[in-house]
Symmetry: C2
Subunit: 574 residues, 2 copies
């Protein structure tokens, strides 16, 4: 039983000044967490209980799925991460350190390498597979902007699993087992979420989905079709290219367009000077970038910006991507800033990529690769060829769903889980092979699956809180029932104590506000702020043999007979 | 149920080459842990279960004592550790790192500072105290020589508690509550241990005791009186100074003692040249050291060495201590190496400390502070005065118990717990005060209490293993019962499965060896190596309606009727 009279807890009346999201504000105010450094928090007793409850639910669901728990250190040697190149690729997000002998170590941001080596150390036959193993462990990422309390911290708790299979069909089975286990886990945690197609980004590999918990303060934006249920994160959204009816356009015509280095100025001049009656959507934006040191050009309709994150996620094999800067333009005089067109790409020796909207046969108004000149009727397939299509343009609310054509909405969410088909990247780099039935060596194929455990605490808080405090699901709450004794007499306190003991004997966890010096108002406010699902008030109504029952989720209040209180509480918890 | 057919486990037939102690060898061979780097290990599924079992027992006992669980990060900012000077004092044992902004961080080796600041942040009145809070958390120490597997690692799990009281009487109560909780914890863990007086060393503070688990491979030596039960670690052992019957000795006599720079050569010359008939015990060893930059001299009887660790622990206030080197002798010509005596200490401006055996009135053969000359009848109190007595000489088996005079024994052990009365050191440095009943500010007094959680796993293994494998107590074992099915037929396997399910329904945890391809011999060896307390073998005897029951601790084997197996197993686990 948690007794408020001795509980190590001080609630705060005011929001912490550095907190911007509700979960951060409320978890600090209600005495669950305290800041230690940027993105680093300690957990007070109530926070520890809630965190452990989330861990327990996750562990139970992983075990039920037949996954086996292991545990790795957080302090890891450099070598395995060097063999997969992630020692460098992680950049400044990796906490690196040296030991007393000068050897390099890191604080693990994720453990693909270590799991791969562990399996390599134990297993050698296809008969040993499939294998699904997981850990619940503390991870470290030196975020550039740690923020939103425990949603994006630098030290945080994660559940990470890895699957090991001999072939792609096996990986598909393991992937779906994890997907199912994640669904049961998040359902039990009381989270609402969408399962969203995702790119695998820096992780390599192929199929990947994110579990996103919708929330107005979430950092992830994603696309949702309310008609067919299609959901994708912005990087993974597939463009529905409209099939324009294409007539054969006239030959290219070069036009004088002085002082039109932007789409806006170009449209104005075209409409005023040439009576073209066009919108930005009919012009072509030629965006020059440097990809791994080489210049490339990406074409998008003039009414859309390039979404660099989206482009980066979809330009397979490119590690570093940045926009042309003045220095790049100075070096490559053939690219006339503001007047670039795709017509001379081959001559300039540059690769061209097009947004899927730049369909073959479509014609565009675009730069003429000459100062103060543009060209029209520049036709894809006739006047220029691209090296490939790529999802590069920004996604907008109202874009067509690639499955059913309905306009999609864009929503914000917190990423609470992520499942990946990693494939053979890590197994190849670290030489994890098994012998198959014919005695032939086969590289193992892997999946990687993560749940943000400490982040899930915040996500639940974000989705369930109200104006006056936290509102926990009963499996997660510090206690299922919060009993408040009020008044100066002993009777409410001894009665509250008796109710608490009765409930505990029935397996109900209890928090008892047995503070003598605190006022009823303070106690009610604290109960609401802390957010246990059922509140029982033992006070004035006791004279009539009654106690008050409050349901934190609905705010419903009712008086019940003292004799019925256990029955009523159990019913409310059903 | 743990099924060997799918359990992520490969036992090894051979000891790992780098392992020197049984727990290390067996935990690796039986598939509990794997090495990652020096002093850094990962835990395989069986290891995770055992580690969690130990954690659970500790947590239950802490909670039962009314201590409240909190949780701190491992990655900590420099500032609090700088304010207590431990950022520097820890030396190379502290893992230090910088974040992307260049700020200094450390990996917490222990959390006194953080707990002090946490309480300072929440509490302000004497009414809030006493408070006892704890965490179970991963800690880091960059040991110079990580060794003995998980006994002395660089990343390890600890339970650390801290008590906060307004006065010394309160601290005494908190200290004893922890002492009692530790006794129940270690009893439940099945460890045998001694509670041993200890110096507080670098932690500061006063009263301190260690829980030492006797074990031939232990790194800690301690003194035990088998007669009265007095126990102390070697640093804390109190010397029983014999009261010599002291007659007034003659005046100092300086003797020619050429080529006698050692006690051994001195004794030889004294006996041969001067017919003195003495032993080394009658000579005085003058050991020159540099303490925090200043030279000091420590006197011990010639038949004993100075124990530097013991001296360091007892020289209160000294932070750095080292022996004189050639350079020091070169700088201070007045100290004639091999011929130093205490007679001229004042003249030389050096502090003198004496082992308690150098009682006042005793006289000694010692150096004359002249090359090739010694002096005799040099008398404490007449010819030299000391600045203090200090426990400096090595402790030997057979030394007198300070309580009852019986000769003590020296034994080896693993330190599994440590309790400290820290006092006000941290509260003062970090300004943790509360207002007392009179509204006066009082500095809080603290205790600090630790249990090595991962080390306890090794300590249990060390104390309970035998020649053929691990032998876990039932609360700690991966499973209480290990059922082995043998043979080519299905019947033993289906029978074993049924027994397993029956036992599980009675709350007994089960490991089932359901491997079809492994031979009975391999299965028996694995069962013995893994070390679950009760082994049930379902095989040949099944034809007669019987199964075999083996008790891992005693090695006892018996055949029981299949109908009685549940009853018999439950009885064996009682």
């Amino acid at each position: 039983m948690l007794r408020m009279s001795s509980l190590f807890l001080r609630t705060l009346r005011d929001d912490p000044s550095d907190a911007s999201v509700p979960s951060h504000k409320l978890l600090v105010r209600a005495g669950y967490i305290r800041p230690i450094a940027a993105g680093i928090f300690s957990w007070l007793p109530l926070g520890v209980i809630v965190l452990r409850n989330v861990e327990r639910v996750i562990r139970e669901e992983m075990d039920r799925a037949g996954f086996q728990e292991v545990h790795f250190p957080a302090l890891l040697p450099k070598d395995p991460y060097e063999r997969t190149a992630r020692w460098d690729e992680y950049g400044p997000a990796l906490f690196r350190l040296k030991d007393r002998k000068g050897s390099d170590y890191l604080l693990g941001p994720t453990h693909e390498e270590m799991f791969t080596l562990m399996v390599k150390g134990e297993y050698s036959s296809y008969k040993d597979l499939p294998l699904n193993i997981y850990q619940i462990q503390t991870k470290y990422r030196d975020e550039a902007r740690p923020r939103s309390g425990i949603i994006r911290g630098r030290e945080f708790v994660m559940k990470d699993s890895y699957s090991f299979d001999v072939d792609d069909a096996g990986l598909e089975v393991s992937y779906n087992k994890h997907r199912d286990a994640y669904i049961s886990t998040f359902d039990r945690l009381g989270l609402s979420y969408n399962i969203v197609s995702a790119m695998s980004g820096a992780m390599g590999g192929s199929k990947s989905e994110e579990f996103l918990a919708p929330c107005p303060t979430g950092e992830d934006t994603y696309v949702l079709c309310k008609s067919c249920g299609y959901a994708a994160n912005v990087e993974a959204m597939v463009t529905k290219a409209e099939k324009k009816s294409i007539d054969t356009p006239p030959q290219i015509e070069v036009l004088d367009t002085p002082n039109t280095p932007t789409i806006e100025t170009l449209v104005e001049v075209m409409n005023k000077k040439y009576n073209a009656n066009i919108t930005a959507a009919e012009t072509l934006k030629n965006v020059l970038l440097v990809a791994d040191g080489e210049p490339i050009c990406v074409l998008v309709p003039g009414d859309r910006e390039v979404d660099l994150k989206r482009l980066e996620a979809n330009l397979v094999g490119v590690k570093e991507l940045r926009l042309f800067d003045d220095e790049d333009f100075a070096k490559r005089k053939e690219f006339v800033k503001g007047y670039v067109g795709p017509q001379d790409a081959k001559r300039f020796g540059i690769k061209l990529y097009a947004d899927p909207r730049i369909v073959i046969g479509s014609h565009w108004i675009t730069g003429a690769n000459l100062q103060n000149k543009h060209a029209r009727y520049v036709t894809h397939g006739r006047d220029f060829q691209v090296d490939g299509f790529v999802e590069a343009a920004e996604v907008r609310e109202g874009d067509s769903c690639p499955k059913c054509d309905t306009p999609v909405v864009i929503d914000r969410a917190i990423e609470i889980g992520h499942i990946f088909q990693l494939g053979r990247k890590y197994a190849e780099a670290l030489e994890l092979t098994v012998l198959d039935g014919q005695g032939k060596s086969r590289v193992v194929t892997m999946g990687s699956y993560g749940i943000g455990v400490s982040r899930a605490v915040a996500a639940i808080a974000e989705q369930t809180h109200d104006d006056i405090g936290l509102v926990w699901p009963k499996e997660i709450a510090p206690a299922m029932v919060h009993i408040v004794a009020t008044g100066k007499e002993d009777l409410p306190f001894t009665t509250a104590e008796k109710i608490a003991l009765d409930l505990e004997s029935k397996g109900v966890t209890v928090m008892l506000d047995d503070r003598k010096e605190a006022s009823p108002g303070v106690k009610f406010k604290d109960a609401e702020l802390i957010g246990n699902p059922v509140i029982v008030i033992v006070g004035k109504a006791l004279a009539e043999g009654k106690v008050e029952l409050r349901i934190r989720t609905t705010g419903a209040k009712s008086e019940v007979l003292l004799a019925d209180v256990i029955k009523e509480v159990l019913a409310a918890l059903k």
